[in-house]
């Protein structure tokens, strides 16, 4: 049995997400291993980002259940929690397809803001902090130390005091991952982390993700189009098409799966003409849905 089947950190159970008449996710079930890198792949419009938005509470699935299970046995039913509580208590962190850094704040500030809940407690919910309590100053120093650790890891120590909006694109991607890691997650969800990176940056990203898995011992779930990244680093691949799971297994298994090849390379017409017809109509519906600007996606 594979690790994601025996000891999953996240269990997605028969979730369905409908937007009016459109079914973005259709009865999807999969699990994410506790210390695995799991890739969620699929053609454009397959519903990958919608899955992410359901996991992190930005959408509530129409049907089904999403359970996060910590090592100590604590379970969190994510679809019943507010988005910020998912990050705070269930310890699921995420990044965004279109980077959402605090552009006007410095790199260091971005990382410190991510430690908000720890610092909030240390500042006695602001009261002790205003009075200048020593406990808060210590907590702030610790927060800086932790930020330094991550700055070092993503090679941005030199630019710690520069505004995040000034960083080059690749560095912004890395910073967003580091910022998510500063919330001390048990599961890190990355939405297309390699999009727009050059091959060298992409390699660095792979190393970063592998070292996060090794050092922090957490699960990583990523959406990715770059097959090189997927095949190189992931332990487990889930393939979506039109909101349905079409394959689930190790990279090697998925690579040779006929359903996956069909989804990516297209369907032979003589093989399944009615399916092709259905796909075309569905694709039109989906294109209308997709034509919304990407910025609208996570917003409620």
């Amino acid at each position: 049995m594979a690790s994601w089947q025996t000891n999953p950190v996240l269990r997605v159970d028969h979730i369905t997400m409908r937007f009016g008449g459109l079914i973005a996710i259709d009865d999807l079930s999969f699990t994410v291993g506790r210390n695995d890198i799991t890739a969620l792949i699929g053609p454009n419009g397959a519903g990958k980002t919608t899955v992410f938005n359901c996991l992190t509470g930005f959408y509530k699935p129409t049907e089904g259940m999403i359970v996060m299970r910590h090592e100590d046995g604590k379970e969190f039913i994510l679809e019943r929690m507010d988005d910020f509580r998912i990050s705070q208590f269930a310890k699921v962190a995420r990044t965004f397809q279109n980077i959402r850094l605090f552009a006007g704040m410095t790199v260091l500030e971005n990382l410190v803001v991510a430690q908000h809940n720890t610092l909030m407690k240390a500042s006695g919910y602001t009261v002790a902090g205003i009075l200048g309590a020593a406990g808060y100053r210590r907590a702030e120093r610790e927060a800086i130390e932790k930020s330094k650790y991550w700055l070092d890891k993503i090679n941005l120590t030199d630019r710690a005091d520069d505004p995040a909006g000034d960083l080059p694109y690749g560095a912004q991607r890395r910073l967003e991952i580091a910022r998510a890691m500063c919330t001390e997650p048990k599961l890190l969800c990355l939405d297309e982390p390699a999009a727009g990176l050059n091959p060298r940056e992409s390699d660095d990203l792979n190393k970063l993700l592998l070292s996060i898995r090794k050092d922090q011992g957490i699960g990583i779930l990523l959406i990715e189009h770059d097959m090189k990244v997927v095949m190189e680093i992931s332990d487990h691949v889930v393939v979506l098409d039109y909101g349905q799971k079409i394959a689930d297994g190790t990279p090697a298994q998925v690579k040779t799966d006929p359903a996956v090849i069909r989804a990516y390379l297209g369907v032979d017409e003589e093989e399944a003409p009615p399916i092709a017809e259905k796909l075309v109509t569905e694709a039109i519906v989906r294109a209308e849905h997709e034509s919304q600007p990407p910025g609208k996606q996570g917003e409620r």
């Binding site: 260091l108 500030e109 205003i130 996570g298």
Partner: protein
């Protein structure tokens, strides 16, 4: 500028310039004709239209000549005019302007002075000419200096760049002046009163800055909290405290009610906060605007409780920690062996508002370095990202509203005790607009910017009372005080034209690793509600 130079190389197109000047004159005529040319007067027995075509002619001629001057000498500059010539002209204009201004000013007071003998209003004309020449000279100087620097390939934006390193001393200097202000020789009651007014607006600006500048929530109804604070103080101190605790409490009323008024205003901040939590941008602005009006309308109509349009009068004055400022043996002056002067109370009020404002500043700067303050700023930058990091945006917004409102409430209490009288008249939308204008002019989120902006805005209102010399030049019946809103409006348009992000456009990071680098305003989000 480069396009203009290219044109001048290609030779000046006089036909085009002529048409342009004619068009300018036509537009000027269309605007000035009806406004200046026709004056409706109401002598005995009805409305009469009075025509002033000579004045229209002169105004249009001045505008056309100015346009022609710009066309010939600035936009299509002849090749023999070099930047250095312009710079020298500018310097000469400044010198002439300064001399004219000084001569005019020194002859203003003496009605039988040298200038007045030639013509009664010559001194006033000298002042007006001096101001005009100064402005023109400064404009010529700066534009020529900039052009020379550009030609040399140096970086531009010189003046602000040169001034900026001294920026951090401005706050210290202003603070020191503020501390000793009442004791500077020549400072009279009028100036202390003005300083109290300015400090009240500084405090309100700082309070609103938390909501608008840091959290990025546009609040057009901030005056509501000012009103809640003022009425809390007025009603508690005149009606309820004497009722509950007897008359003996009166000397202490201010110090007891002040925190209560702040708390009540904070409660109203939270009450306003709840319905607007899900709103952004324009919608948030409309709801807060409505909230401000609702409070005012309630104050007008709840006659039994608030006294309606009559307001609340006879509000107790603050005491020096229990010792009243009265002219008897128990008063402040007698207790400390001073001679009684009504100025003592004013000076005490000045220090009260100074301390209140400094507390506001201290708390705000502290909060910026605390997680809640960073969460405010993060909220302004990106609300979705905040939520993904586990920040409870609901609580974050509510604390911003509550703390901003609390400082508004303190300022309101102070206002009530200073005036001794409150009425709904004092809490109109215009007040919200002025406070917001101060925050925006100062630069969103900048503490020192708010100080400078309130000195400029409130000072500008007052300066217009002083411009008596304008009366001498302008037609009879001209009152500069009536034009102050217009002038402040023009000043705001100009500042927003040249410094669209306010006077102070840098954001100070709340924490740093090695070196504190200010963040350029281009990167800082303005918040979307």
């Amino acid at each position: 500028m480069t396009a203009a130079t290219q044109q001048s190389q290609a030779g000046t197109d006089y036909r085009r310039i002529f048409i342009d000047t004619a068009l300018t004159a036509l537009i000027a005529l269309a605007i000035i004709g009806p406004i200046v040319g026709m004056n409706a007067t109401a002598p005995q027995g009805g409305l009469v239209l009075e025509y002033r075509w000579t004045m229209v002619f002169w105004l249009v001629a001045i505008i056309a000549a100015g346009r022609l001057f710009l066309q010939l000498l600035v936009w299509n500059r002849p090749a023999w005019v070099e930047p250095i010539h312009i710079k020298r002209t500018g310097a000469a204009a400044i010198a002439i302007g300064a001399v004219a201004l000084l001569v005019g000013l020194s002859n203003m007071d003496s009605p039988v002075g040298f200038l007045a003998q030639i013509h009664p209003s010559l001194a006033a004309w000298m002042i007006a000419f001096g101001v005009f020449a100064l402005v023109l000279g400064i404009w010529l100087m700066t534009s020529a200096t900039k052009e020379i620097a550009e030609a040399r390939g140096a970086q531009t934006g010189g003046l602000m760049r040169a001034v900026e390193p001294y920026g951090k001393y401005v706050g210290v200097a202003l603070f020191l002046i503020a501390v000793v202000l009442p004791f500077i020789p020549g400072v009279d009651r009028r100036i202390v009163d003005l300083a109290i007014l300015m400090l009240t607006y500084v405090m309100l600006g700082w309070g609103l800055n938390i909501v608008v500048g840091l959290a990025g929530l546009l609040d057009l109804g901030y005056v509501a909290f000012y009103a809640v604070g003022a009425y809390s103080y007025a009603l508690l101190s005149t009606v309820y405290f004497p009722l509950w605790f007897g008359e003996g409490i009166t000397p202490w009323t201010f110090w007891l009610v002040l925190p209560l008024a702040g708390l009540l205003a904070a409660c109203w901040g939270i009450i306003l906060g709840f319905p607007v939590l899900r709103l952004r941008g324009d919608y948030l602005a409309i709801v807060t605007l409505a909230f401000g009006e609702i409070i005012r309308v309630i104050l007008i109509n709840w006659y039994d409780f608030t006294g309606g349009p009559n307001g609340v009068s006879d509000i107790p004055r603050p005491s020096f920690f229990g010792i009243p400022f009265s002219n008897d043996e128990n008063g402040f002056a007698a207790t400390f062996g001073l001679t009684y002067s009504p100025l003592q109370r004013i000076i005490f009020l000045y220090y009260v508002i100074l301390v209140l404002a400094l507390i506001t500043n201290f708390v705000t700067t502290r909060l910026r370095k605390l997680p809640v303050g960073r969460a405010w700023e993060a909220l302004r930058e990106d609300e979705i990202a905040c939520r993904s990091l586990g920040i409870n945006t609901t609580n974050t917004k509510l604390t911003a509203f509550a703390i901003g409102a609390m400082f508004g409430g303190f300022a309101g209490s102070f206002f009530a005790t200073r005036q001794g009288f409150v009425s709904p008249e004092s809490f109109v939308f215009m007040e919200s607009a002025i406070i917001l204008a101060i925050v925006v002019l100062g630069g969103l989120g900048s503490q020192i910017g708010v100080v400078i902006a309130s000195i400029v805005v409130i000072g500008a209102f007052e300066v217009f009372r002083e411009m008596a010399f304008l009366k001498a030049i302008m037609p009879a019946g001209f009152d500069p005080v009536q034009f102050r809103m217009l002038a402040v409006g023009i000043a705001m348009v100009l500042i927003m034209r040249w410094r669209p992000r306010g006077l102070i456009t840098k954001r100070d990071p709340s924490i740093y690793l090695k070196e504190k680098k200010a963040v350029s305003a281009d990167l800082v989000a303005q918040g979307h509600g």
